[in-house]
């Protein structure tokens, strides 16, 4: 069974404008899917709506996570069930350190999975895991005691997003334009970090404009997303084709 299943998902803004116009998608464990599309195609809206952003209403269709309909659930409940979104523009939380935030997030998830009763992670265990993941993702240890995303460079923010993913161990990880703003070295580390987590326990959905990140994480499936819809699907070779030809042919079709 697919871990994440979208059935004819339509997404509209608060003013009623429809941005996503019927998407069907299945992401299984051990799979990497890429959603590729031009700017303004609605791919970030799709990712945010799947995560449960309150400003994006799912007007039609369903979202299933591990077989459970989560369409009506809040972002927190979706996260507790194993959904994760690496943000394109992560927000700063002044006064809250990366460490403190991560432990609170892990404990919130553990509490939810423990039927609402606190089940906090032991501090030595947390600390060991955090340091190991930081080293693996080449996140400077100094960032652990800084305020979350407060004054971070673009690259630091993206690495910390992946660090959060590594710590929270989701079932489905959605990466929204994680490659933007990263230099090649950072991209390699970040992509490597994602790749390592993809396996029997996790599937990934990589949302990107460019094929660049896909040089480091080879997708099993590529979906071309234009005008709020998937207009073509294929294997990794489709990404290469897009790189060569751009989105213009699809945009003409979509219009």
């Amino acid at each position: 069974m697919a871990l994440l299943k979208l059935e004819d998902v339509h997404v509209a803004l608060e003013d009623g404008t429809e941005i996503v116009k019927g998407v069907d998608l299945e992401v299984g464990s051990n799979q990497v899917h890429a959603i590729m599309g031009p700017n303004g195609s609605g791919k970030s809206t799709l990712a945010n709506a799947v995560m449960g952003h309150p400003a994006y209403a799912i007007t039609e269709g369903r979202i299933l996570l591990d077989g459970e309909d989560v369409t009506e659930l809040g972002a927190d409940e979706r996260a507790q069930r194993g959904l994760f979104l690496a943000f394109q523009y992560p927000h700063a939380i002044p006064g809250v350190t990366v460490t403190s935030f991560l432990r609170s997030a892990i404990n919130a998830v553990r509490k939810a999975r423990n039927g609402g009763t606190d089940d906090p992670i032991a501090i030595p265990e947390f600390r060991k895991e955090l340091l190991a993941q930081m080293d693996r993702l080449k996140v400077s240890r100094e960032l652990a005691s800084r305020y979350l995303n407060d004054g971070f460079s673009g690259g630091e923010k993206k690495r910390v997003e992946i660090l959060q993913m590594a710590m929270l161990k989701p079932r489905i990880a959605m990466l929204d334009e994680t490659d933007s703003g990263l230099d090649i070295d950072a991209l390699r580390v970040v992509a490597g970090g994602v790749k390592e987590l993809v396996g029997p326990e996790m599937g990934a959905l990589v949302i990107t404009h460019y094929q660049r990140i896909l040089d480091y994480i080879t997708p099993d499936f590529v979906h071309v997303f234009v005008g709020g819809k998937i207009v073509e699907e294929g294997g990794p070779e489709l990404a290469k084709k897009l790189e060569a030809e751009g989105y213009a042919p699809y945009e003409e079709v979509a219009v």
Partner: protein
């Protein structure tokens, strides 16, 4: 990562009613009738066996109290029913030196509040005031041997009358304002501290103020003298049972920080939502001295409190760090005052206010730089966080600058918790209230990080409690 964070997380789910809002039966040595009068003032003075000058001081103060009109600014004090308040309750005949010597109900109260345990772990001395009197008091022996005086104010008047008389009522005159006048008339309890030259007290001294009776009026009086080059950190905490009718807490705190000395005064005010908290606090800082007020206001129905520092000597430094959290039915009118008199004096006022569920939190402050204060520097930062549409924040930053060549900065921000910030945190599994609490904890972090670990934990836990809206 620190212990703080763990305990903060573990603290979620606690509840004011159970932790602080309880009350125990009254079995008191003496309880006055309701209302205030010259007869009552006489009775208090007689009970305390005071010198005649103090009796006269009290009577004169009461006349000032009667003569002064109610303040018409700040919060709504018009509904205080002065005739319905009990002004003096003496719970026990004698002060105890051991917790075991207290009546069981009173001892249980302190146990529930965790005071004896805190004393063992990280305090250099403790005073515990219950209603009008300090029922327990103790200072570590080695500090006593160094000449440190830490007593309840009544005992200090008996045992150190000369020193007492030299400073008492000099920083805050008895007619300073209506509530200081009332305190001067009926004061009882509070702390008296003298730190001899050069003595630095590493661990905090703490006083805890507890109201138990309904319609109680608590009027403690604190006087702190920090002699040359000495240091003390004094911490006060306060709680009360939840009643449907009002209580009144009106303290006066006077502090003198002598040359090169430093005093830090930390308050974690967590009165129940039926307490009017109208307090006058003022410190004088002499040459090269440092005075710091760390003022956390989380409880009470109405708080009006603006800890002040008069920077008299050259290069004296003052800081006011203020947190005000107003939830449902609460009005926190808090802030700070710095008055620069000496040359090259410096001050920083940092205020963080949070309002929620229709609460009203504000900053009211004064920055005054006299002509004599050449080269003074000051920075005032007030940030407000408003959590919903029903709540309110006000900022009244008064400034009076008369000197030349001064460096004055003022910043103010008002913000709301953004939907995007909440979504970001919730997408990591935090519930909406956990996410809001996290943003609020982060907002006040510049102040909580200044607190000793145990108090930072306490402050964060109280904020969590407020965020859950379980108070009152």
């Amino acid at each position: 990562m620190t212990e703080t964070e763990t305990e903060v997380v573990e603290g979620i789910g606690s509840d004011y009613g159970i932790k602080y809002g309880f009350h125990v039966p009254e079995d008191y040595f003496f309880k006055s009738g309701r209302g205030v009068s010259h007869e009552l003032v006489d009775a208090i003075s007689s009970h305390k066996n005071e010198p005649d000058w103090m009796r006269k001081f009290r009577h004169k103060s009461l006349d000032y109290f009667y003569a002064r009109p109610m303040p018409e600014w700040g919060g709504n004090v018009a509904e205080i029913d002065f005739d319905n308040i009990f002004y003096y309750i003496k719970p026990t005949e004698n002060q105890a030196e051991s917790w075991e010597d207290l009546p069981p109900d009173i001892k249980d109260t302190w146990d529930k509040l965790g005071i004896p345990e805190a004393e063992k772990k990280y305090l250099a001395g403790v005073g515990a005031q219950y209603e009008s009197e300090v029922v327990y008091h103790k200072l570590q022996k080695h500090l006593e041997d160094q000449g440190v005086i830490f007593l309840d104010t009544d005992t200090a008047l008996r045992e150190h009358e000369e020193l007492f008389k030299q400073y008492f009522g000099t920083i805050i005159p008895q007619n300073d304002n209506k509530f200081a006048a009332l305190n001067s008339a009926v004061w009882s309890g509070g702390s008296f501290i003298y730190v001899p030259p050069g003595v630095k007290i590493e661990m905090p001294l703490q006083a805890y103020f507890r109201i138990n009776a309904e319609n109680m009026g608590q009027f403690e009086r604190t006087l702190i003298l920090v002699d040359k080059g000495a240091y003390v950190h004094y911490v006060e905490g306060c709680t009360a049972p939840i009643y449907s009718t009002d209580s009144l807490h009106s303290a006066v705190v006077e502090i003198v920080v002598m040359e090169g000395a430093r005093c830090r005064y930390t308050t974690i005010q967590n009165w129940s939502n039926n307490v009017y908290n109208l307090v006058t606090k003022r410190a004088v800082a002499h040459k090269d001295a440092t005075m710091e007020w760390v003022d956390g206001n989380l409880g009470s129905k109405l708080t009006m409190k603006y800890p002040a520092i008069w920077l008299m000597g050259e290069r004296a430094h003052g800081e006011v760090l203020s947190i005000a959290f107003a939830g449902k039915g609460q009005h926190q009118d808090a802030g700070g005052k710095c008055v620069h008199v000496g040359a090259n004096t410096t001050s920083v006022i940092t205020s963080k206010s949070i309002s929620k569920d229709g609460g009203r939190a504000g900053y009211r402050g004064l920055l005054q730089v006299d002509k004599s204060a050449r080269g003074a520097k000051s920075k005032v930062v007030c940030d407000a966080l408003i959590l919903d549409e029903e709540s309110r924040s006000d900022t009244y930053p008064y400034m009076k600058i008369e000197a030349d060549e001064v460096d004055i900065g003022h910043e103010a921000t008002v913000s709301k918790i953004g939907e995007e910030q909440l979504f970001y945190l919730m997408s990591r599994g935090l519930t909406e209230s956990e996410a809001s609490a996290m943003i609020v904890s982060g907002f006040v972090e510049p102040i909580t990080k200044e607190l000793p670990l145990e108090y930072a934990v306490e402050m964060n836990r109280l904020i969590q409690l407020q965020m859950e809206g379980s108070v009152g």
